[in-house]
Structures are given as structure tokens and as C-alpha cells.
Amino acid sequence: MLQLLLNGAVTGLLLSLPALALSLSFSVLRFANYAIGSYLTCGAYLVYLFNVLFGWPLWIAASVGALGLATLVVAIDYLAYRPLRKRSGVTLLVASMGVAIALENLVRLFAGNSPRSFDVAVARPLRFGGLRLNYEQLTILITVLTALVLVWIIFRLTRLGRAMRAVADNPDLAAVRGISRGQVVASVWIISGVLTAIAGVLVGLDANIEPQMGWNYLLPVFTAAILGGIASPMAAVAGALTIGIAEELATLVMPPHYRMIVAFLIMATLLLVRPWGLFGTRWVTR
């Protein structure tokens, strides 16, 4: 049971980075970026390129890959989303579906369809009492917690964080208060890109790198973000942990490969009962 909770927490943390990235971009740009899954895939492949083909150590490859993905994400915003910024959220959502399909096929074009994995040593799992924790899980735990703390600090304590929250709250007022929306949007994409690339590496460590990897995470990531209340980024983390633990606990009563059903069920129930999310009411809209 404890083992399941631990596994669930790790799965949840893995989801929390892209969920945080998704709700961060939603809160500032007011559209759900469907391409988040493809961003994750691209991030993993970029890091794979540096790690396996260039032979760099994984953490250097991951840092460079994260910056690379951030650049790519900003470029995509410039080319695909910026011209549509005055349109509705649905228009942008459809545009992001196009971006998702294009990116995934670009990856297939250059990297092929077969699964790959990072160049890391295989290690025996650690044991604490009866609990088993393998090195991938430990890496996920430490990396994600560090990233979350850093994002929290940026969000709550820095000038940039205040600017992001101000634009999310009231873009027109933010403009007359001297905040440049363009800079905030670019910063949000950079943070999203870095978080998603890190998630891509961690997913690649946990499983394989393959062109569909981001796709498989799309549903639980969206569910996690909506569960938290899609416009409140830090709540997305709580949503992700809930999904992760719920999926793991579900294996007590159903075969593991049906875990996906859990995310679907939570999503469906949520949209019927509490579409603004578990923590959504705290967002004052009047």
C-alpha cells in the first residue's frame, strides 16, 4: 500500500511539470495548449540528441535541451500563436492541435518510429525497509521538487512572477501599470518550455523515448490541470498528485494497463460536477 502511494506520488510529480506548464500558459494566454504533449516529445528527443549522439552527460544534455526547447516554443508562439492572439481561445486551441501534429511528424521524420532510451547506467533499486525506490524515481522526485520550488519562488517572490500574475489577472490593467505583455508572454513560454523538456527527460528515463510519448501524457496532464483549476498554476501540482495516486491505487482493483480509465473517469466526473476545478473557486472573478 505504501509502495503504491510512493509510486503514485512519483507518477503525480512526473505529471505535475507539464500540468504546471499547461496552466501557466493558460492563465496568461487564455487558451489550452494542446501541443504540450508534442513539446514534451520534442524535449525528450532534443535531450536524446545531445546525450546519445553527442555523448554528453545526461544533466548537461538536459540543460541544453531544455533551453533548446524553450527557444523552439518561443519561436512557435511567434509563428503560430501570435498572429491569432486576438482570436478566441478555441481558435488557438485548434491552432495548437495543428502544431502538435506537425511537431510529432517532424520527430518521426528525423528520428523514426522505434523506441529509444537515454545513455544512463542501469542501477539496482534502493530499499528503505519494505519500500523500493529505483534511481529513476529518485531522480524524478528530486528534479521535480527542485523545479517546483524554483517556479514557486519565481511566481511569488520576483518581479517577473508579479508581472505574470498581473497579466493573468487583468491584462489591460497590467498594460497601464507599465507591464509589457510581450515580455511576460515570452517568459511564460520559456518557463513552460524548460518545465516540459525536463518532464520529457524524466518520462524518457521512466519509460522509453518514442514519438507517441507526449500523446500518452496528454489526457492525464489536462485532467491534472483542470482538477487544480486550470487558471491557477500551483494548484495544477495538487491535481497532478491526485491523478498519480488515484491511478496507482486503481491497480488494486483493476489490471494496470487500464490505468488510463482513471484519468478519463476523473476528467468526466470533474467536468460534470466541478468544471472550475478543486481549487478554482479561490479565483475571484468579480
Binding site: 500574475r165 489577472d169 507599465g178
Partner: protein
């Protein structure tokens, strides 16, 4: 009078939405330290005038000068950095942030580097608004309408602007709260800031200003000292609903 010494000048401004003009050639001059109120019936273009002046709406033609410099092409955020701050009519605070954060945001993206630091400015502004001092930790969205207006004005005053533009500060307030708010507006005006005010409540608006502009159907019908406007029976009957 030389226009170099002025706060804000609009020259023959045509503006509107989707290419349809609402303002038809509006010109006005706001001298340094002047308090000017724009009044007029519903739909006369007051809010369009305000949005064009502060940079949220690009004029179709015409020119806008701030402290002698042409700012027509500048966005709202850039005009704010040059000393023109603005309090919108609605949604004028960051509702999910604390009052203190609202004031900090009012300061940090506009105030010139090397200017009076945040703490010093905060004290000066709180002296004008002692009412909000106990509320600094409160989420702005949980304040009453009158308190929100005060926070909004305080935030706009934080960077020590040369021109403060207020869009219908009394909107949505009870008559009593509107009176209280205008007492504060008097206090602000006495502190020396140049004030551009748009107000539907003509009695309160004219009472707070030196000069008035009557806007009707997107054109300036009259620009005169407020005392003259109030004394003119015809204007009162025609434009002010007998106020």
C-alpha cells in the same frame, strides 16, 4: 502659453473601434497642475477619449503629446513610464493579489530607476489614503467597491506620475461613498498632480476640477472654467440634465 510646459495635449484626435470613429476631432490641453473634468451624456465618447489619451486605443488620426513629447505611437505601458497613469472605470485592481502587491506593481514597472524607493513612496501614498493601511494584506478582490477605487488610485499614484487619469471614479458607488471618494480626489489634486477626470456625476465632477470640457457626440461643445459651466443656465439644461 507654450505647449512645452503642458501635461497632456490632444490635437484633432479622431478615434473609434473597427474603423468607425466615435471621437470627431477632439482637441484639448491639460496644463501642469491643472484639474480638468470631461463631462457629457451617455455615449458621447468620454471613455473612448480616455482610452485614446492613455494609449489603450490607437487614434485613427490626430496627435497626443505628453510633457511636450509626441506619444501618439506609444502603447499604454510606455506612456505610463513617461508619467501618465490611469485608473480604469471597472476591473481596476488585480483582484487575486493583495493590496500591498497591487501597490508594488503600481510602482515597480513604471517608476524611474533611481527614483524614490518603494518604501518611501508607499509611506507618501498611504498618507493620502490612510483608509487602506489596515488592508494591505487583504486580497483586493475581497474589498468593497469604494476601497477598491482607493487601492486603484493609490496604485496609480505610486510611481509619482505627472498626469493621473481617472475614468468615472464614482461609477457603481453609493452616493455616500462617491462623496467620500471625491474628498480623497480633492486631497490628491491638492498634492499637485495634474488630473484628468471623466465623470458622469456632473455635480461631483465639476466640483473637483478647475476646468471642464463638455463632450457631446464625440465633439467638444464647450471648454470653460467649471464655475462658468455651472453658472450657465443653458448649458446646465442642455448637457447636464439640470444638475
Amino acid at each position: 502659453m507654450s505647449e512645452d510646459a503642458t501635461g497632456l495635449v490632444l490635437r484633432d484626435v479622431h478615434a473609434g473601434y473597427g474603423g468607425q470613429p466615435i471621437l470627431h476631432g477632439v482637441s484639448m490641453t491639460l496644463r501642469k497642475g491643472e484639474r480638468k473634468v470631461v463631462i457629457g451624456p451617455n455615449g458621447s465618447g468620454k471613455s473612448t477619449l480616455m482610452k485614446t489619451a492613455v494609449g489603450l486605443l490607437r487614434p485613427l488620426s490626430g496627435q497626443i503629446l505628453l510633457n511636450g513629447q509626441d506619444v501618439t505611437a506609444l502603447r499604454a505601458s510606455e506612456r505610463a513610464r513617461r508619467g501618465l497613469t490611469y485608473v480604469p472605470q471597472e476591473a481596476n485592481v488585480f483582484r487575486n493579489m493583495s493590496v500591498l502587491e497591487n501597490l508594488r506593481i503600481g510602482h515597480e514597472f513604471i517608476a524611474p530607476r533611481g527614483g524614490l524607493a518603494f518604501a518611501g513612496r508607499l509611506e507618501e501614498v498611504l498618507r493620502l489614503f490612510p483608509e487602506i493601511r489596515p488592508k494591505l494584506g487583504t486580497t483586493a478582490g475581497h474589498l468593497s467597491g469604494g476601497q477598491r477605487q482607493m487601492v486603484a488610485m493609490a496604485a496609480a499614484l505610486m510611481p509619482d506620475p505627472t498626469v493621473l487619469a481617472l475614468d468615472e471614479p464614482s461609477a457603481g458607488l453609493s452616493p455616500r461613498n462617491a462623496e467620500l471618494l471625491f474628498e480623497i480626489i480633492h486631497r490628491i489634486a491638492d498634492s499637485g498632480v495634474t488630473l484628468l477626470l471623466i465623470e458622469q456625476n456632473t455635480r461631483l465632477g465639476l466640483g473637483a476640477a478647475d476646468n471642464g470640457v463638455v463632450l457631446v457626440a464625440g465633439q467638444v461643445r464647450l471648454a470653460a472654467p467649471t464655475a462658468d459651466i455651472l453658472a450657465n443656465e443653458n448649458i446646465r439644461r442642455l448637457y447636464l440634465g439640470g444638475a
